[in-house]
């Protein structure tokens, strides 16, 4: 929209009335992307794609969950062609609701098995690892546990900040349920809640609080400490990766999908292939500190190698009680009180 007089346009639209307004919408042949990744994290790639392919792109940015609700509400009328999700939960919701068009095998095959939906509804693009961020002034690295399950021990009571309302924490709890069963997952949640841990709204707020020393540690995705330290290199922050494929270092993938009913399916596939190509995968590795998912892409040397993190993949459909049970369990544990 750069250089366009949006406000003047808006006033013109308002005064010219409904008939003129149809013309204020986007063109038919432009690819409409709903992106749960914010502009900083995907915008440059989308611009490059538009330039290289000659395909015009319009992007609506919002939280992944809100965009999933929007696409569901819009139904068959949705203007969206491509949905980029920051979390497996949101894109899984749309897949289960039948709002996604299956991707061709050759696109899905670009990533390892398990990093895409079984029904080809979406394909993983990049990954973020769950981690324990800690304040190096307050915590000695040697005292940190080898498993996220040990955080219920007395010495960590009230020391670890959580974001129980946040999508990535919910996804992590879903993984726990899948791998350990609901009883053990509930026991872990209750163990954490028993220590009355400080809770925050999201990863950004936790990393900010750990950085200023209000809380010694916090369970977050690995990306945030990297970003916070490029804002302020003096911040006493480090990520602790639970070793040996512990569930505490589960990889949460961000996904790309084609929205059902898109009339630009070919262009949508081109974009997704571009996001899985060398240039984009290098961008995720170098610029956004994430794990690239395509075979052969190089992992950022600041991160633990790919084979040291948990390869847990959750089949959301098979999980007993469905995803609703995850938030119920978090509520029942008392973490939200």
């Amino acid at each position: 929209m750069k250089g366009r007089h949006v406000v003047v346009g808006s006033l013109a639209c308002l005064t010219l009335g409904a008939t003129a307004l149809a013309g204020c919408g986007s063109d038919e042949d432009r690819l409409v992307v709903y992106s749960g990744r914010t502009e900083n994290l995907v915008g440059p790639l989308l611009e490059d794609f538009a330039e290289e392919s000659g395909i015009g792109i319009d992007v609506r940015y919002d939280d992944s969950a809100n965009l999933a609700l929007l696409i569901d509400e819009e139904g068959d009328a949705t203007p969206a062609d491509v949905f980029i999700s920051q979390s497996p939960g949101a894109v899984g919701y749309l897949d289960a609701a039948g709002r996604l068009e299956p991707l061709p095998d050759d696109v899905v095959d670009l990533v390892p098995e398990g990093d895409a939906a079984d029904d080809n509804g979406w394909v993983g693009m990049s990954g973020r690892v769950r981690t324990l961020v800690y304040n190096t002034d307050l915590v000695d690295a040697s005292e940190l546990p080898d498993s996220v399950l040990d955080l219920t021990e007395p010495q960590f009571a009230g020391q670890v900040a959580l974001a129980p309302t946040n999508g990535s924490f919910q996804d992590f709890v879903t993984v726990l349920r899948d791998q350990l069963g609901d009883d053990e997952a509930a026991a872990w949640l209750e163990g954490m809640a028993a220590g009355d841990p400080p809770t925050f709204s999201d990863n950004t707020a936790i990393v900010e609080a750990v950085g200023r020393g209000e809380v010694p540690m916090g369970l977050v995705n690995h990306y945030y400490a990297f970003r916070a330290k490029s804002e302020d290199p003096d911040l006493p922050l480090e990520n602790h990766y639970f070793p040996d494929g512990d569930l505490g270092s589960t990889l949460l993938v961000t996904g790309a999908s084609v929205v059902a009913g898109s009339d630009l399916e070919d262009e949508a596939h081109q974009l997704i292939e571009f996001l899985l190509g060398d240039q984009a995968q290098a961008f995720f590795s170098e610029e956004t500190f994430e794990y690239p998912l395509v075979a052969g892409a190089t992992v950022n040397p600041a991160l633990p190698p790919f084979d040291e993190i948990a390869k847990t993949r959750v089949d959301l459909d098979e999980l007993g009680g469905g995803l609703e049970r995850t938030t119920e369990m978090i509520d029942e544990s008392g973490l939200n009180r």
Binding site: V7, S10, V59, N66, G89
Partner: protein, 526 residues
Amino acid sequence: MPAPVALRVVCAAVGLLFAAPLGYLAWRSFTGDESLGELFTSDATLVPLRNTLVLATVTAASTAVVGTALAWLTTRTDLPLRRLWAVLAALPLVFPSFVGALALLAAVAPGGLLDGPLGWVGVTPSRPEGFAGAWMVLTLFTAPYVLLPVSARLLALPPSLEESARLLGRRPVAVFATVVWPQIRGAVGAGSLLVFLYALSDFGVVVLLRYDTLTRVIYTNRVLDRDRAVALSLLLALLALAVVAGERSLARRRPAVEAAGARRPLQVPLGRWRWPALALVVGWVAVALGGPLASLGLWAWRGLTGETSSLAAGGAGLGDLVEPAVNTVGIGLVTAVVAVAVLLPLAYLSARYRARSGDVATGLVATGFALPGLVVALAVVFWSVQLPEAWGLYQSFVMLVFAYVVHLGVQSLRAAQVAVGSVPRRLDESARMLGAGRTRRFVTIDLPLMLPGLAAGGGLVLLSTMKELPITLLTAPIGFETLATRIWADAEAVFLAEAALASIVLVALSGVLTWLVVVRRSDRLA
């Protein structure tokens, strides 16, 4: 006197438009799987519901006290620099709640900016949280909902009554209690009702300060258990409808207060209370506005000077904020004008003719503000899909402004009701007997008397629109960026320097607009 039929028809249409969220939620609830009776009576609902009600009620009461005090001090006394404080005290309203609360925490929480200075005087800060934390932070950010309408009312009040009371030797406090309070009670009630509704809908503050309310449950479940989120939103809307309709019928029983037409502002000398009063106002502004601004300033400074930050490395700077800033102001002004114009007929119906149907319509308008913006946005999307006539406007500016007005319109309505109610009927009647037509009476008598109140209501809508996020993100024309959407995107990805810079620009612009639209205008009119 019965209301004209045309007015009733217009108001019914307005009420219908504002029923969009309620209708959407009712439809989704009754076609969903959730058993409403079971859900509404379970502890998982009742505990957050009680928390919500307690928080909203207590915050409404505390802002009534603070907002009224600030309004009186900045409009009616010889407080030094009172016009400056009048603008600054209104500004905490413009912090989008997630970034305002985050920045305030970064200032006052342990390890924050104030930790050092407080440590020197032997105070260890503790993190504000739970009920007390949410209440304090909400009070700091929402007091302007009372401040602006009450200031407008005070400025429209003829000074003669107060002058007589003072000449009779009454002290300022006694003058306030016996003369001023009965005249501004309506405005205080209107403002604190807005705070009550805002507290029902707020998510950013309660979740960061860890207080379990209905909106927390709605947000947490919005994707994973959608039927529950919808049913609880319906509960929130019904709650608002009941509270507001109830408040309106109470207001109808009160005698009408009609006094307006101040020619010049009256100044009460504070005497030896002048400096303590100043300290109070400065202290309030320092915490509510200065606290978050200090953190934002630090983040921006760090970004501008740090070597590794994207801001210093040629990232988004001030230049990139010009377009979002123009968009923000433009859409805010349009929304404010539309909201005032659309809701003025309803203000007449309920405040002048005191029609019962007006109470119901007012309740419907209030539901839009008691619901999280996300729910209002989805409701507008739902109706756009259902109604072929509306689909042509999908994701257009008309739809965006419509969604804003449905969500925020009650702010201008409540101020307008106070303004309409304070126009003395005898002026209108005299003019009618002299043969002035309805339009002429409106333009020459009502409008000038109501302008400070209408400007205050429009000002609230303006400031709220400028910081609005969920509706903008979901329903704006694609590519339309405002300062709030920038702040959200940057904060979400931990580009704190960029987020801080955009927030500071938002506050500065809001300050200028508050001055131009609300404070200066009402001063001149008064």
